[in-house]
Subunit: 167 residues, 2 copies
C-alpha cells in the first residue's frame, strides 16, 4: 500500500506502478470477500498498463486476445465491479476509465487531464470540495456526488512545441 502516485511524471517505473496496483487490488478484494476474477483482474491490469483514461471499447480487443468473450457486457460488468470497489473511476467528460491510485478508502475523486499526452492524475479534492460545499450550502443544496474534471496541459506538454492549452 501507500504507493506513490506518479502524477504526470513520464519516467516513473511503470511496471512497479502496475504490479503494485494489482497487488493492492488483490489484497483489498480478499479483505472484502469480493472476487477479483481473471476477467476483472485483466481489465484492471489493462487500465493500469496504459496508465491513461481508457474507453470501454478500447479494452475489448485485449479481452478477446486473452481468450475471453469480448461482447460489451463483459467489459462493462468488470468496470462496474472495479468502480464499486473503488479500484477505477469513470471520467464522464471522456467516457473513459482510469485506475485509482489509492483505493483503500472511498473518496471523492477529481482529475487533471492533459490534452497533450492524454494522461490524467487524480487531484486532492479537499480544497475544491470546501469551495463547493460553501456555494451549495448557501442554496441549501445537499451534495451527494461531485464530478470535477479539469482539462489542460501538464508541465511536460507545455514545453512541447505545438501544444496549446485549448480543451
Amino acid at each position: 500500500m501507500n504507493r506513490e502516485d506518479p502524477g504526470f511524471e513520464a519516467n516513473h517505473n511503470h511496471d512497479h506502478c502496475m504490479e503494485s496496483a494489482l497487488s493492492t487490488a488483490k489484497d483489498l478484494c480478499r479483505e472484502r470477500k469480493q472476487r477479483l476474477t481473471p476477467i476483472r483482474e485483466l481489465v484492471l491490469k489493462l487500465i493500469w498498463e496504459n496508465h491513461q483514461p481508457m474507453g470501454a471499447y478500447e479494452l475489448l480487443p485485449a479481452l478477446a486476445a486473452a481468450g475471453f468473450n469480448s461482447a460489451p457486457p463483459t467489459i462493462y460488468r468488470a468496470l462496474e465491479f472495479l468502480q464499486e470497489q473503488g479500484l477505477v473511476h469513470r471520467i464522464a467528460s471522456l467516457n473513459a476509465f482510469i485506475g485509482c491510485p489509492h483505493p483503500e478508502s472511498p473518496h471523492r475523486s477529481g482529475f487533471l487531464i492533459c490534452s497533450g499526452c492524454q494522461r490524467a492524475v487524480e487531484l486532492d479534492t479537499a480544497p475544491v470540495h470546501r469551495a463547493l460545499s460553501e456555494s451549495a450550502s448557501e442554496l441549501g443544496f445537499k451534495i451527494a456526488h461531485e464530478t470535477v474534471e479539469v482539462v489542460g496541459l501538464c508541465a511536460d506538454c507545455q514545453s512541447q512545441p505545438g501544444e496549446t492549452a485549448d480543451a
Copy 2:
C-alpha cells in the same frame, strides 16, 4: 438582460423567465451578427421551457412536431451553435443540455444538479476555480477547461419524503 436566475425556486415566473432568455438570445445574436434561425430559436425555447437539463433526443420530437426535419444532425447542429454562442451549456455527466442564465459573456460554468426534481442551476464557480488553480499550479498544470457537476438534493427535495441524497 440581467435576468434573475430562478435557481431551485419552483414558483418563479416560468413564462417570463423563458421569454427573457429568448429575447436576450436574439439581442446577442444580432449584436454578434449570428443567425438565430427558427430551428435554433426553437431548440433554445424547448430547453428553457423544460427548465431542466434536456437530452438531445428528448428534443427531437418537438422539432418534428414543429414541421422540421428531426434527424439527429438537426438537433446537434442547433446545440452546437447555441453552445458556441454561450446560450446553452452541456452537462457531461448527464449527456444533457441546459440554458445559460447569463450568456452575455463567456464564463466557466459549473452546476448543482438535483436528483430529486432534475433541475440544475449554474454555480458561481469563482471559488471552485481558485481552489482548482491552486492545486493545478502546484503541479505546473495549465487549466484550459473545467467540468464541475455536483449531484445532490435541493432544499425543496430534501423535505420531500422518500428522497435520499444518493447520486
